[in-house]
């Protein structure tokens, strides 16, 4: 109740802040500015309070809230419990709003210092109020009896034994039952990546709202050039955080989800890649503007686009518009998300582009004065290539929408589309990221460039040849490896040349080195991976992919997962992998977690497929009508009746725990014995208890009830049971584990490249932020 009130208060405060800031632009007064500031700060405080309330409800297991019930449970560990905050649609919008409002406080100080507070914060507050509005319409504070009235609301007296209930209207005798357990978190999300990855992504989503606000704010104030210098550190920050989020998501998919690789061109992955590519393009365009004042108009568009694309991506992945074409189906959106997100995009597109086209004529044009071989032009081409790649990915990701408009049925793209279209752009981009570094502003002479290019061009042949020798010849792939290596060595050369200058100047070169390493790693680990499916018999070594693998058995871990031990030996070095497999009640399916052995030059990726018992255990489901003999592997079985006492019967009527026995008689030769199979019911949950029967030949059988059908006329009663024969040897000596083993060469390049890239971004942020400061003083 308080939670929803705080959300509403936050929405109103943010809206007031936006209105006061806009009013201030037309009639400046100190009071108006203070009021606007107060409004914004109040909005941030409200959102912090609302978030804390939600966190409290989750931590204290208040299952009367639908959201808490839907995603958490009493069995989750503390970090995972905290992460259920953003496991659903409503909570993740709460998190986004929280980050946006807290970032706004920093932005407020920053813009006040740079004398651009009112117009930037006006736009930013408007964005914040829109995000708040999403939570006003649908927030995580709905009660379970509002969501599922038919299931929990009761009338009349409360039967004894029900403690978890609440009176809705005691005078009328209306009350609701409250769940004692939560539904729990999707098992695929239950790992530490869930604890860190979404936050980073939402931080990235929040930070691209800043360049948008600067650009639209600049247009509002008719101040067309100064803003970009101040906005640059934020754009770089956005690109860094978003990039880190994307790669972390990729590592999650690789390491725990068992997708086989870190990138599957899934809509959810693409949807953060698209704004990132444009964000990076925008950084390069702003670099040109800073240098010689050109691209003023273009940079408005480039600064607005990342935020627009984040909105579009959110729409794609969270409105349900992609339907069944995505593997990610964590959330069940509902129409509210669809229309609100569409309205969100529409409003900000109209606002951003509308004001841009209105002001376009006023924006100063700076005549372009650079030649074909100049850094400006090459940077421009690079930005175009990045945008082009983003566009192609966007078209591919939107293909269910496009095809459903064309022929009425949504269909998705094959992954080959992305490889075929993005690869040529990748070649261009990596080449330009080297070429631009060697060029001078305005105009370059051809000869010295050739001279500078010579060494990297030769060195780049080395990785290319190494990849060529790995087998599988594909011209474009090798060209890509070559251009990436060329970029790698060229940027090293740049760092070598400027080593005596300020280290901060190397940010760009360091980031390029990171990207180049990642590109080479992508090719070697994905295109040159080797995959084998092997059957490992217990304790019998098998040679595959250059490794000697031995299956050593399995153990049931505390978390209920079966961990298989696979020893891996190569050249005298011994390692042990422990891939796991378990059955998830929640998704009613087997979940497989791979294990990865990380070597310096390659990863060995081991995914369990299945465990077979070759000694021939058997299992059968049988229906036993009363007093009819049935047979299972020589055992004769007969269901003879139930035991269900008056006492138990009345317990059942009162909704109290009760139990029931079904008697099954087993005839084996001359011997017969009666098994009492038990069913017990507590709080509406029914459990069937297995019973072990040891036959005369020492074989072990397990009997479990599946279903009971008691009838008034007891001769028509029947039961359904499962009989399972265990394998002869209890030590599982005959088990065969089938695994999929994959070798991923040089995958470490991807992770080293990622760290390098982020370091490069950091250097750039520091440099640009200092420059922005210096300009002021």
């Amino acid at each position: 109740m308080f939670g929803a009130a705080f959300v509403l208060a936050g929405f109103l405060a943010a809206l007031c802040a936006a209105l006061f800031y806009i009013r201030y632009l037309y009639t400046p007064s100190e009071r108006m500015l203070l009021a606007a500031r107060m409004g914004f700060i109040l909005a941030a405080i409200s959102q912090t309070a609302a978030s804390n309330i939600l966190l409290y409800l989750i931590l204290s297991h208040k299952f009367q809230y639908t959201y808490v019930w839907s995603y958490s449970s009493t069995t989750l560990s503390l970090p995972l419990l905290v992460s259920t905050f953003y496991a659903g649609q409503e909570g993740s919008f709460m998190l986004w709003t929280l980050f946006l409002s807290l970032m706004g406080i920093i932005l407020l100080r920053y813009t006040a210092k740079h004398d651009c507070e009112a117009h930037v914060m006006a736009v930013f507050s408007l964005i914040l109020s829109f995000l708040f509005f999403m939570s006003v319409v649908k927030n995580p504070f709905a009660y379970i009896w509002e969501t599922y009235p038919l299931d929990v609301i009761q009338h009349g007296a409360v039967p004894p034994g029900i403690e978890h209930m609440i009176w809705l209207d005691q005078a009328k005798g209306i009350w609701a039952r409250i769940p004692v357990l939560g539904r729990g978190l999707n098992p695929l999300l239950q790992n530490y990546w869930m604890v860190i990855h979404p936050q980073i992504l939402f931080l990235g989503f929040s930070s691209v709202a800043v360049p948008f606000s600067f650009a639209v704010g600049g247009l509002l104030k008719k101040e067309y050039t100064a803003w970009s210098r101040i906005a640059v550190p934020w754009t770089v920050f956005g690109a860094m955080v978003l990039g880190a989020g994307i790669i972390l998501g990729g590592y999650w998919a690789y390491e725990t989800l068992g997708w086989g690789g870190f990138w599957g061109w899934d809509p959810v992955e693409n949807s953060s890649l698209i704004p990132w590519l444009v964000c990076v393009a925008s950084i390069h365009m702003m670099l040109v503007q800073r240098q010689n004042g050109t691209f003023v108009r273009m940079n408005f568009i480039f600064s607005m686009l990342p935020f627009m694309l984040v909105l579009y991506s959110t729409f794609l992945t969270r409105s349900g518009v992609l339907g069944d074409t995505s593997v990610h189906s964590f959330v069940d959106p509902g129409m509210w998300a669809y229309w609100l997100l569409l309205a969100f995009i529409f409003v900000f597109a109209v606002l951003g582009f509308g004001i841009f086209f209105k002001r376009m004529k006023e924006i100063p044009r700076v005549a372009v004065q650079h030649s074909l071989i100049s850094r400006e032009y090459v940077l421009f081409l690079g930005a175009c290539a990045l945008t082009g790649a983003a566009l192609l990915v966007a078209v591919g990701t939107s293909s269910p929408i496009i095809t459903s408009m064309m022929n009425g049925k949504p269909s998705a793209m094959d992954i080959s589309y992305y490889v075929n279209t993005v690869l040529p752009f990748g070649i261009v981009i990596t080449f330009l990221s080297a070429f631009a570094q060697l060029l001078w502003w305005k105009n370059s002479k051809t000869k010295p460039i050739m001279k500078q290019m010579a060494l990297p061009a030769v060195l780049a042949l080395i990785p290319t040849v190494i990849v060529l020798l790995m087998g599988r010849k594909e011209f474009l792939i090798h060209l890509f490896v070559y251009t990436a290596s060329f970029s790698l060595f060229s940027n090293f050369q740049v760092i070598y040349e400027i080593r005596r200058a300020n280290a901060q100047f190397g940010g760009g070169a360091v980031a390029h080195i990171g990207i180049a390493l990642m590109c080479i790693g992508f090719v070697t680990s994905a295109r040159y991976s080797e995959k084998k499916i092997v059957h490992l018999e217990h304790d019998r070594p098998l040679k595959t992919l250059g490794y000697q693998m031995t299956y050593r058995g399995f153990s049931l871990r505390d978390d209920g997962k079966y961990a298989f031990t696979v020893d891996v030996e190569q050249g005298g070095r011994k390692n042990s992998a422990a891939p796991t497999m378990y059955y998830s009640e929640q998704t009613q399916s087997v979940i497989r977690n791979p294990d990865i052995l990380n070597f310096l030059h390659r990863d060995l990726y081991i995914e369990p497929l299945m465990l077979e018992d070759t000694s021939g255990g058997a299992e059968k489901q049988m229906t036993l009508p009363k007093d009819v003999l049935q047979e299972f592997e020589g055992l004769k079985l007969k269901f003879t009746g139930f035991e269900f006492s008056e006492e138990q019967r009345s317990a059942m009527m009162e909704g109290k725990p009760f139990e029931l026995y079904a008697f099954v008689c087993v005839f084996e030769g001359m011997k017969d014995s009666t098994l009492s199979l038990k069913m017990e019911s507590t709080k509406g949950r029914t459990a069937f208890l297995p019973l072990i029967y040891r036959a005369a030949d020492l074989k072990q059988y397990e009997f479990t009830l599946n279903r009971v059908v008691p009838e008034e006329d007891s001769t028509k009663s029947e039961v359904e049971i499962t009989v399972k024969r265990f394998s002869d040897q209890a030590v599982h000596k005959n088990d065969v584990l089938t695994i999929e083993a994959t070798v991923k060469p040089y995958i470490n390049l991807v992770w080293i490249g990622t760290v390098t890239l982020i370091f490069g971004f950091l250097l750039t942020i520091i440099r640009r932020a200092r420059e922005a400061m210096k300009k002021e003083s």
């Binding site: 299952f63 019930w69 379970i144 599922y148 038919l150 299931d151 929990v152 978890h164 039952r177 409250i178 769940p179 004692v180 357990l181 939560g182 539904r183 069944d324 189906s329 069940d332 372009v368 074909l372 032009y377 081409l381 175009c384 290539a385 082009g388 566009l391 192609l392 078209v395 591919g396 293909s399 095809t403 022929n407 049925k409 269909s411 998705a412 793209m413 094959d414 080959s416 589309y417 075929n420 279209t421 040529p424 752009f425 261009v428 499916i533 059957h535 998704t587 009613q588 399916s589 087997v590 979940i591 497929l609 299945m610 077979e612 709080k683 509406g684 949950r685 089938t738």
Partner: protein
Amino acid sequence: MNIKLVVGGVIIILGIVLGLVNFFDSNVEYGDFAQAKKTQKKIQVKGEWVKDRESSFDADKIQYTFYLKDDSGEILKVVLEGAKPNNFDLANSVVVKGKYMNDHFHATEVLTKCPSKYEGSSQQVKRTL
């Protein structure tokens, strides 16, 4: 100036062509088995798993074979590259992606639609009361 425009223009046109060609080439359209037999392209067919026909897993080839009845009622053998998918027993509708080959549909990918994902929240509430 002109050369720059030409270079930029060529790149843009190449990009658009590249995108269009691949878009129509890689788009996996929906169809039924009759259409799958006519085309060489990868196609996706929605249908129902025929549970009373044989289904088996070949552990050596890692192929799962089953029969699928498409929306126009035709029943065809489907050979899937890989193990029996999770949720397969619960799925009330199955989408297979692949090509028609000789006597069967050779699928590289299977999507399952499970009833549990779309309904049953109210049963789940009851279970946890």
